[in-house]
Symmetry: C2
Subunit: 206 residues, 2 copies
């Protein structure tokens, strides 16, 4: 029986990506999972902006200079990155590597475009699409954010509709049915537990 | 947004197959899930033997004549069948069709060879391999059954070892770690819940 590893069933750590249209509650879901004390490594984003008072390097963000950021980008050391209003943001691979090596599942939230990038770079990532219970609810969420002009809001709604079409690129879809995100968080944890029972695990190479 | 069915997320019912080597606890697991009152259709086997006192048609078994049984076989109406000690046993497709049509997940236990047959006939079936926590434990379980001569026991152990090699044909592996099968039953229910979140559901055609 030496050729099979049937009794060597230590689960492989996963790289879990939470994505979905703007306004659907991705950040709230991640926050909820943190507050539950789930045994996950929550990815910390890197930025080249200066820390605000009270922000801690490696906790709130990794704070890098623009030069350091650009070097990481050139060396292919960013899992995903974007320049938003002239500020660099990205996810350094090293922390993901370290967490996976320690046997921890890693979870991150990215927008729908970012999820496509992660899928390309890490085909074995586990992609979860968070969605609203209805189109109306998604619109309501975007309206409730406030601060947008009617034209901006229309553009956001149209963009969210476009993002909804990317569902097919994902492995699982989780519906955010309640404000507290309890059911959605349960679903995410259930998906992770089930994935650990897969005969062919998703072995992440970074 | 008419072309996508993002908000039509009624989960597709699953055909779940519990398999694994002899002695690993397949029947006990099914019994445990029944006692928990899980919302599943538990497949009833058909046989051509006469009912014993107290046995109810459609509950304990479907009791058919040998002629009826053979007609179902010829018409391709059996999902799986075997003749054991001259008695016919098999799983009529019709009950599975009806249960799936009513939206219920269907669960059945078959031996490892039977699982391969189900996979061939129903590629979208969800195959779960139940295994022991160690090779020693599997041997102990087979010994504990009693009633075997030492030679018979050796043959059973050798056969179970061979069956363990079929793991690769399955979707998930669940380890039976405790006598009560509580953890294994949890894992099965978690796998079912996660599968209902799959973007590409397993749509069973029978």
């Amino acid at each position: 029986m030496g050729e099979c590893n049937l009794y060597d069933l230590e689960p492989q750590p996963l790289l879990i990506v939470i994505s979905g249209p703007a306004g659907v509650g991705k950040d709230s879901l991640i926050q909820h999972l943190k507050e539950r004390g789930c045994e996950l490594h929550f990815v910390v984003t890197a930025t080249d902006r200066a820390p605000r008072p009270g922000e801690v390097h490696g906790v709130d963000y990794f704070f890098f200079t623009t030069e350091e950021f650009m070097r990481m980008k050139q060396e292919g050391e960013l899992l995903e990155h974007a320049i938003v209003y002239g500020q660099c943001k990205g996810i350094p691979k090293q922390q993901v590597r370290e967490a996976l090596a320690s046997g921890k599942d890693v979870i991150m939230r990215v927008d729908v475009q970012g999820a496509a990038t992660v899928r390309r770079l890490v085909p074995e990532a586990l992609l979860i699409f968070l969605t609203a219970a209805s189109e109306e609810e998604l619109e309501q969420r975007l309206r409730a954010r406030g601060g947008d002009s009617p034209e901006q809001l229309e553009r956001r709604i149209a963009a969210a509709r476009e993002e909804m079409k990317c569902l097919d690129d994902f492995d699982y879809v989780v519906v955010n049915r309640d404000e507290e995100l309890g059911q959605a968080a349960d679903d995410v944890m259930v998906i992770i537990q089930a994935e650990h029972c897969r005969v062919k695990p998703r072995v992440v190479q970074l």
